[in-house]
């Protein structure tokens, strides 16, 4: 049977709907960063508010998955669901419900996060070693020293490895077949 991590969004959603726990775990893992980023970057929520919205979104996803008409459209659906949940959360804390609640520039920011999710999807086609080093350095903000210790690599090789992996990602963005070639060093 195909592992949940290899599934398309469409297939993953179908498995979730049939009650597959592994598929649900993967769905949450796959979209958790996106939902989180919409909360803290798009809407600038505090950690406490972001956690509330984050859990609300996945509760709604679980409850409303059956209403999704097109499983392939899960990604825009969860994006909109998160945005609406953020707006509802803001409205619930304000007296004037008609007031403009979305922070300025939210459309641009959400557009950028959508782009970032596309990059993540392509990054997932790279070798595990590339995914890990790029994620640790750029997304988790880890130092060369921390990465070197975690991956058992000499710190002096990390910069060049990151650079090669970025080049590989760039090639994969332009030509998805390029990601199957190995990365040395």
């Amino acid at each position: 049977m195909q592992g949940s991590t290899d599934l398309t969004d469409k297939a993953l959603v179908a498995r979730c709907r049939s009650g597959d726990d592994d598929a649900w775990n993967e769905l949450v893992a796959r979209f958790s960063r996106y939902v989180y980023a919409i909360c803290v970057q798009g809407f600038r929520f505090s950690s406490e508010d972001a956690e509330d919205v984050f859990q609300d979104v996945f509760t709604k996803v679980y409850q409303q998955l059956g209403r999704l008409r097109d499983d392939a459209a899960f990604r825009p659906w969860i994006g909109q669901l998160t945005r609406r949940t953020c707006v509802d959360h803001l409205r619930s804390s304000r007296e004037d419900a008609a007031e403009q609640v979305e922070p300025p520039g939210v459309d641009d920011r959400l557009g950028e996060l959508d782009e970032a999710l596309t990059v993540r999807e392509v990054m997932a086609t790279l070798p595990e070693s590339c995914q890990e080093i790029l994620d640790r350095f750029f997304a988790r903000d880890e130092s060369y020293k921390t990465i070197g210790e975690a991956l058992d690599l000499p710190p002096g090789t990390i910069a060049s490895r990151i650079s090669r992996c970025l080049e590989k990602l760039k090639a994969a963005m332009e030509d998805p077949d390029a990601s199957s070639r190995p990365v040395d060093g």
Binding site: A37, F54, F138
Partner: protein, 83 residues
Amino acid sequence: MTNYDIESLARLIGALPPPPLGWVSAAQELPRVRAELDDLIVRAEGDAQLRARLVADLESALAESGISPTPRILAEARLRLEL
């Protein structure tokens, strides 16, 4: 697909940091917790003693049943038990 320069790719990777691990685990636990809560509510409908325990001290009764009584779960249980 769109062509990206290396700097843009680096920025876009950095745009999606991971949420705290506990948040992800809690969301992944949702189906199990909801199934356990469903089961508990159904049992409480036919078991006066269980319902009395839930009404008297919902938080402890949930914990005794293996359900972590988070604020969200407590709110839902109160709603479903009409407390």
